[in-house]
Amino acid sequence: MTVMERLAPQLVTGAPLLTMSGISRRFGAVVALEDVAATVWPGEVLGIVGESGSGKSTLLRMMNLEDTPDTGTYHLALPETPGNLFDLDRFARRQLCARRIGIVYQNPHLGLLMGHSSSGNVAERLLIAGERSFATLRAKAKGALEASEFPLTRMDDPPRQLSGGMQQRVQLAKAIALEPALLLLDEPTTGLDVSVQALVLDTLKRLQRDRAITMVIVSHDLGVIRTMADRVMVMRHGRVVEEGLVDQVFQDPQHPYTQELVHAKL
């Protein structure tokens, strides 16, 4: 498929890659998520917006199997995972996360080993998946960093010596090193200045176009969602209040909260 063909609007007819349904999660008296459902089709970018505390990050953590809900199911249409992913044991979860799911956190300290080299951080992902050849590790780490437009002259510097934008690129390289089926982005550009933010979004957009990676992107920034996402889910108080195509939701918001959100932004 050429780039132009991929860019052209297509009717989604296949089975969804990610299906979550009936997700509820309470932290004591606090309701973080209440009967949330999400569906993502292969090659699609789903945006999740909402105010702080609306449960969007909790939902993303569940997609990365870092947390288990009180009720609900999670399926990924992958050959090795037929059942509900929340039923997997710790070992199987780690294997699945390492091989099939990539994640970029808002705070690079969560995703990177700050004292180790950048290329080592990318290689770690491959090592956990069982790669043991030094030449392959080196080449793959380099390839992933190159794909995330990281300056290769600095590939052996530790992330603590890098700027915020570059740290996000290392996280991105680490996330895509194993060609994941699903890429999760948790506020990937929050905290970066506007020009760097644009460059990182540019990289993400290009990656999405070239590799047709399925992405879920969480942000409170409507501009980021508008640039990146195909479909959007608006969350508030742990519930999904509105869901639809990005243009449709942002041009013609139905729910009062979405209307407020869109007007506050524009």
Binding site: S119, G120, E124, L127, I128, A135
Partner: protein, 304 residues
């Protein structure tokens, strides 16, 4: 009947310094450690009359194993005559009545820091290694609770990260001592600060090796005939120190692990690290009847 007839005469301490309950605990933990090769067993490290970090872990294991018929050898950096080795050896013989020796072939219990003797150990000998830091995952996981989970999951991928960075920075693996090794295909252990040269000696060895860290209160073991494989990349083979071509300037020995001794001239000379082997070689050269046992290495190559 008086109380004196029912009790043992007063003594300053129990046999072998440690009291019976301490030894019982040590024995249980040693058996556990042998049952799960390379797995770290926590134990209650007792006070012994040397400072933590000077071999208290090894000393407690040796004090538990020792009996009047034992012959003990204590090695510190390959030498039997250093202050630490001499005082530990004297202490052991004083509290147990065991014989002291410098000779690897005569010893039944060898307590060591930094080295494994160059002469092959037999199945009737026990090697006790003093370990400063028993946790191989510490450089990549500072949180010990998580490190323990990683051991449980055999999640050792990150250990190659250290080797990867050494390869990137130096073009070769520079890990000189305490080279992380996979025991029996399951647990990764740090084989105490022995050089790379000594790690292959543990692989399918005939003797029992007990490794004990007194300060960290951890004990683990390599039973006889157990696989010990140093972690390597599939395309970068494991290499021992390149000491095959060096000759000891005192004894004329070659093909053994050497200590480098800097000279006033700016150059350096080499000396066999296993000092008693050097002494035996000198005695043999002077015509004394001395027996040197079969060695692990021959011309810098490990014998099968």
């Amino acid at each position: 009947m008086t109380l004196a007839t029912l009790t043992r005469p007063w003594a300053a301490m129990s046999y072998g310094f440690l009291d019976a309950s301490a030894k019982r605990e040590m024995r249980r933990k040693i058996i556990k450690a042998i049952a799960v090769p390379g797995c770290q067993m926590p134990y209650a490290s007792r006070e012994v009359p040397i400072a933590r970090g000077w071999g208290t872990g090894g000393l407690q294991v040796t004090l538990t194993l020792i009996k009047p018929a034992s012959v003990v050898k204590v090695i510190d950096q390959g030498a039997d005559d250093s202050v630490n080795a001499a005082s530990i050896r004297r202490f052991l013989s004083r509290v147990s009545g065991a014989a002291e020796t410098w000779d690897t072939l005569e010893a039944t219990i060898l307590q060591s820091r930094h080295r494994i003797p160059e002469e092959r150990l037999r199945d009737d000998q026990v090697l006790v290694l003093q370990v400063p830091n028993p946790e191989p995952l510490r450089p990549v996981q500072p949180n010990m609770s998580i490190a323990r989970q990683m051991h449980a999951d055999a999640d050792y991928g990150r250990l190659w990260l250290v080797l990867y960075e050494q390869m990137v920075r130096s073009g070769r693996i520079v890990q000189g001592a305490a080279y992380p090794s996979l025991v029996n295909g399951r647990h990764v252990m740090t084989p105490s600060p022995i050089p790379r040269w000594d790690v292959p000696k543990l692989h399918m060895a005939h003797h029992l090796t007990l490794l004990s860290a007194g300060r960290e209160k951890r004990l683990y073991a390599v039973p006889p005939f157990t696989r010990v494989e140093p972690l390597v990349f599939s395309d970068v083979p494991y290499q021992v120190e390149d000491h095959a071509g060096l000759t000891c300037h005192r004894s004329g020995l070659s093909g053994v692990f050497m200590n480098e001794i800097p000279q006033d001239s700016g150059g350096s000379v080499f000396e066999a690290s296993d000092s008693n082997l050097g002494i035996k070689a000198i005695r043999q050269a002077e015509g004394e009847a001395t027996k040197i046992g079969p060695m692990w290495y021959e011309n810098g190559e490990l014998r099968p």
